[in-house]
Symmetry: D2
């Protein structure tokens, strides 16, 4: 019997499912519109039904090993989703307890997206065999997961790992969280757009971005412009690397990881983001960490990353790491 | 016989003329395309011909008192225009000597635009009767003229009065002059656009400017947006006033003027520019200057300001001040 | 039989010993001059001899549970002391392996001082029962230990936990480590002296410190002066708290601890250090951490802290936590 | 008949007198304790008596050309000393009018010390023949005098020329004037002491100043230490030059002088102050001022400078320049 873990990625619009084996091979997939289920009971039942359907699809010789769920505002300890702004169901949702009614013998785990990505990296990706590493997700915001001694750092309340909300510049940019100078305001997809605008203000070099309004700009455009030699785009990556490199160096001084993985949109910019980030990371590292910490692209950063990450929670909970 | 001064404003595209009496009344006007005269001799002759035509237009009982010329890169002492990037004639142009051939008995004076505006303010405008004042022109760039003891400060080489190129922020914005942090990069029409972009980068408040590319933005749009309550536009004026107020306060500590006049595009923004500039000027003034220096809009800031300023050079040279 | 752990604190000048029970009671103590033993073999033997002497002193019904050692530059994983500048023996010292020859059946552990203090806090002190907390030692330098999920974070190379060398101010004060802006340059005993001098430079308020040369100033004098109302001393604690509070807030975002303990000289300044540090920590915390993290004085911060910390390593290794 | 000008330097402790010819030769000197004359009438009479005594001493063929007075808080236009904190006589002292009672036919002029030093430089010193220059006095505070077109810039209220209170660093050091970041807090004798303390805080390089309390330090000690290679002393001059060079560059952009003279204690440090000031001045100058403005030591900076400066006011008022 082939053991498969169900990975569920709960988003405000869609819920994506996959059945994944210990090596990260996908045996079945499904998508359900989250918004079709305003009633939580209906939604939970749909999760169960979809898993069962996928098991049938996957064939006769498979067996469910457990259910892993990635969701916004997830509390790993309590197995709950708490006051998620993007979901319809308000308050605290005891998602693990509800799923357990269907699978009382199996592990059911919930955690947030960045943590799921981190476990995914450890189970299937570039961090296989590592016991101390960091995953930084550079998307609309900046998320992160820290693994120390082979275990994810959850903290006393399950909300550890907010590298995106460490302050890299006192009195810096206004963050959506209400404070100023968070890494997220510099090193996210939105952050690099803000940096391009800062450079339009500070510099007089010609740039295609002088013709682009903020609302139409994307991080991909910045990568493309860098590729074409736009001086402001190249400088924007330099500045992003300066901020990200500093934040990572400070994180390294706390958990001393073997490697740091960059995941998500901005990480796709390749050398444009890795080169300055690496350089500024090294420049800000204490001597005994220098030239030791690998800065790597995530090895599972594809369209199924969220499902894979969620499914990995099952293997990790089974100690099969 | 009514005495009239000829005022000539030499620009890269057009040359504008006026005949003006001691009170600032215009008796005749003319415009000639500068670019029609690639040969300097032809151009000088055209200046003469145009002045003579205007004198005829102005009537029988008028008499020319002298010729005042406002031009870029003018050297007051030498009566020359030196290496002006926007004009066709290269090198050093001895414009005063050449005009003197036509009017050997009359005063012929050349100076730069900001100085001409300053003399205009003194002869016809809000500085009448003042012996110590400053005029700051807030246009595409920032120019200035300083009057001390009733005389314009020309300095030993005729190039004094560059408030726009005093440095208000060390390592600040890149200026077209090659240095960083010049007042001009903050307090000009371009400067406030740069500030709006800086604020789009620093802040998350909604703003109409998130939809406007830099190349399409104008200083007038910032004023209009401020009027409509756009938070970034209001903040942009606040920041402009912070930089301009500091630069003016430092200038006051040097020449202790009775008043500072703001002239040009940004000065049209009224309270939006005057209120924060005044507040920051006072906050940065040494106690014995506080609450003494008037911050005023120019009284001759209209479409004929350049011609009026140039003509005023004549009355000033005749000592009729 | 009463089980006792030997705690050994290896310093450049002296080596201090204690026999400690599970509750932190001291049954015997000893001190040996480190410098008396230039030969490492002699030194190791002396460690053994001293432990055995103490066991006799402690009485007939005691039994050694293991040996815990706190030492500079200790590598926990390898059981070594590596290139410690303050010790006579050069290179890598395999201290655990050598002690194991005397106690092959017992746990022998070595780690650095800050980690030992952290384990001490967990076993005997204010962190009993906590699984997620941080200890920050504010001495000549700034050390730290992070406990996550009940285990100390050692990192992949045993050198994790250098909060003192996270950079809190880009291009800030020169640190002995060769970089600039490390927390240690602000929040250590030397750091607050530097801050007093910075304030003498920045401010004109009267202060007793205008009569004190840097080489004669101590952190205790700053506390005393604050108590007497010296404005610069009070401001120095405010600034120290600003820097320390920021660094702690950033660390909280990574490990989400239940509490942060301050230990060492500066921590003795009581409200002068705790009040501003707490205030700035809260101001820099992401909202979901605010008003949750306790900032506490260490409960074992006395003259025997180093021995206690070292002995605690034994209980921790035995899983008796 | 040799014409001689009386120069009087009024200080809080002593009043110094001299009789000086047009070339700056001293024919007689005297000193009177200012504090001996709490009654203003007595003091004025003593000024007269002392001048007359000196005239007798100077010989039979001399004639008084006028009286020049340097005094704190002097108002040149009104001929008054206004609310000088260091003098016994409170309120507004009409010193010119009172002296005129004794010398109704002669010029009597009062101005402040920095202006007197500036006129002295023009009449007897390095600025002979110059029409546009600046004198900066680097003493306990920073004073300055600006000459434009051969005339001192007094401003509309006689209080122009406060370069020491232009702000060179926003939110910088607290100044005695109540504001922050004035040049005086960086480039005066006290300023460089403050800079040494700042460097003790920022740097870890060894320095003799780590053993010197602020209250015992002097600017001369900094010069001496620089001479001996003390790295912090050399860095202190570098930083002083950075601030002074910036302030001078900004002043040059306003009055475009031929030369800037440094006078007073710090100016005695020779290359230590001139080299970095010159370098930073050039780096901050607009291109059309670069490599044109001379930075020179005052040529009359000796013990009689104040008397000479005061006497020079007479020659300047007589138009004998």
């Amino acid at each position: 019997m082939k053991k498969l873990a169900a990975g569920i990625d709960i988003g405000g619009t869609n819920t994506a499912f996959g059945l994944v084996d210990r090596e990260g091979n996908m045996y079945a997939e499904a998508v359900v519109p989250t918004t079709d289920f305003p009633d939580l009971d209906d939604y939970i039942q749909e999760l169960y039904i979809t898993i069962e359907k996928m098991l049938k699809t996957a064939g006769p010789d498979v067996e469910l090993a457990g259910v892993g769920i990635g969701a916004p505002n997830a509390n790993y300890y309590n197995g709950t989703i708490e006051n998620a702004a993007n979901l319809m169901w308000k308050g605290v949702i005891p998602i693990v307890e509800r799923m357990k009614r269907f699978y009382p013998q199996l592990p059911v785990i919930v955690t947030n997206d960045a943590n799921a990505a981190t476990i995914g990296e450890m189970i299937y990706g570039g961090a296989r065999g590592m016991k101390d590493f960091i995953v930084v997700t550079l998307g609309t915001g900046v998320g992160s997961g820290f693994v120390s001694g082979g275990r994810l750092i959850y903290g006393h309340d399950s909300f550890a790992g907010e590298l995106g909300h460490t302050i890299v510049k006192a009195h810096g940019r206004q963050c959506g969280c209400g404070r100023k100078g968070c890494l997220e305001t510099y090193a996210s997809a939105t952050g690099i757009k803000r940096t391009v605008y800062k450079l339009v203000a500070d510099e007089i070099a010609p740039s295609s971005f002088r013709d682009v309004p903020f609302s139409k700009m994307t991080a991909e455009m910045v990568t493309k412009a860098a590729l074409e030699g736009d001086p402001l785009a190249i400088q924007a990556f330099e500045y992003t690397g300066e901020m990200l490199g500093l934040a990572i160096a400070n994180a390294v001084a706390i958990t001393s990881p073997e490697a740091v993985f960059l995941f998500g949109g901005l990480a796709k910019a390749g050398k444009y983001i890795f080169e300055p980030t690496k350089r500024h990371m090294e420049a800000n590292l204490l001597y005994n960490y220098q030239n030791k910490v690998k800065l790597l692209p995530s090895a599972i950063d594809d369209k199924n990353a969220a499902i894979l990450g969620a499914s990995a929670l099952v293997w990790e909970s089974l100690g099969e790491v």
